[in-house]
Symmetry: C2
Subunit: 284 residues, 2 copies
């Protein structure tokens, strides 16, 4: 079901590498091309043997009718500028960034002929890099598609089809709304897990050997690559900061109940948290 003549993936790490593997396995294009800034990643991508590997972003996108930008979100503008020279007038451009409003603005640096439709597959991992890529990464995962409403509908539909063909379930929404949702379900939890890890690791009695699955799960996402996450958190600063402030307040509320020996308040707060968490399981 090759929908595209040639797909170019610009900035192939975990997400980009997985797109290449999935697109190859599912035969979504006549040919595949990719670029990565890092020599190590380019060597890794060559080993995949599924795509032509370029050492220039502009060369990578030449002749492609679909270009997928998967560089870190704070590099979006730089990447759009870099590929502009190589883009054919019919090339459709999408991305996989965890924030959408800032990337939509950055996409103004693409040539006017090229249509951009943002996307965000909910398929990250704390394991970064093409070495951890997998053809199955997107299977059964949600993927947000965030058009501005100004694009030809056919272009938006082709982007939906592309992400669905990789195995994900697409949902369309406004970029601003998207950023507010992912602040709640991803960015605030990320910063909060990092804060917990920092706090626990600083305690004199902290003993990693004794740690069970509880602490490991609660902090797993804090192992994420800071070079990716600084850009994400800053690009979504307003929502993330507001959520962290609420997290601080709820933590203080629990702490005061514990300090004051207030079993009633503590019971109420923990029950409320348990019910919310169990609702999360039921929503799967």
């Amino acid at each position: 079901m090759a929908q595209f003549k040639r797909i170019a993936v610009v900035g192939a790490g975990l997400i980009g590498g997985s797109i290449l593997l999935a697109a190859s396995r599912r035969k979504l294009a006549g040919s595949l091309a990719c670029w990565s800034r890092s020599v190590t990643s380019r060597e890794e991508l060559k080993k995949f043997g599924v795509a032509e590997v370029f050492d220039s972003a502009a060369d990578c996108v030449r002749g492609a009718d679909l270009v997928v930008v998967t560089t870190p979100v704070d590099k979006a503008e730089e990447t759009f500028r870099a590929i502009a020279a190589g883009l054919g007038p019919d090339a459709l451009v999408t991305d996989a960034g965890s924030i959408k409003l800032a990337i939509q603005l950055a996409a103004r640096h693409l040539p006017p002929a090229n249509i951009f439709v943002g996307a965000h597959p909910m398929a990250g991992s704390e394991k970064a890099g093409a070495a951890h890529a997998a053809a199955t990464l997107f299977e059964g995962k949600a993927c947000f598609i965030t058009p501005t409403g100004q694009e030809p509908r056919v272009a938006v539909e082709r982007i939906h089809a592309f992400w669905r063909d990789l195995g994900s379930n697409t949902t369309e929404m406004d970029a601003a709304k998207h950023d507010e949702i992912v602040a709640a379900i991803s960015h605030i939890p990320h910063a909060s897990a990092a804060a917990l890890m920092l706090a626990v690791a600083s305690l004199p009695a902290f003993d990693p050997i004794a740690a069970g699955q509880g602490l490991r799960d609660a902090t797993r996402i804090a192992a994420g690559e800071e070079n990716l996450w600084v850009g994400i958190l800053l690009a979504n600063a307003r929502h993330v900061a507001a959520g962290l402030r609420i997290t601080e307040e709820r933590t203080a509320e629990l702490r005061r109940a514990i300090e004051g020996g207030d079993a009633g308040v503590l019971h109420k707060l923990l029950a409320e948290a348990r019910i919310a968490r169990q609702a999360l399981d039921r929503s799967r």
Copy 2:
């Protein structure tokens, strides 16, 4: 390898039920007895078909040479008082509570003839109740043994052997030190995960359907039963409150870096958290 004539488990839920199943499978006693406050749990325990089920705690411990108290930690004193009438003079008593100093104090309510040696198997779960019990629950898990130093050494060694025979790896330490360690690796993460769940669930944009594995893992322990956790957090209040205060401070530090657009500070904090979390993986 029956080390005991009869083992009685007092308050058989997830932990107590698992002890019965493991002790039966591993043939650690000539016979097994148990008691649970709840009629539903007693019915569940009867279905196991491995232990005589009593509706009185004092009757349950009669004739037992090992008694394992697995009631919630804030019920320890009440349980010790309740079993006193049934305890034979040679019965050795242990427990499985998540805090140890308060339970050691509560054990003063046992008859003077009975030796108590506290234990804490690191084998909890957010799934409470005998219905979730498993014979394999303790296998490969750490188990802290917290004698006061006043007990005959042979009694302490029998408690080590009991928990090892259930499959866990025992480590001996002072009760106060234990409580400080588990604050760091379990109690502070629990309260912190609850705070995150409360904060995220209160955001208007929160959408459980969109939530990925990150939020689910970060908040999994917040699904724990509040009736167990209120007692644990209050019994270890000093360490937990101190740790939560530090968590609030580290969250505020991250928030201020995000609000101020300070990529340098944010990068430093996230890198520090990543390194600490990766060290946790290497410690397995």
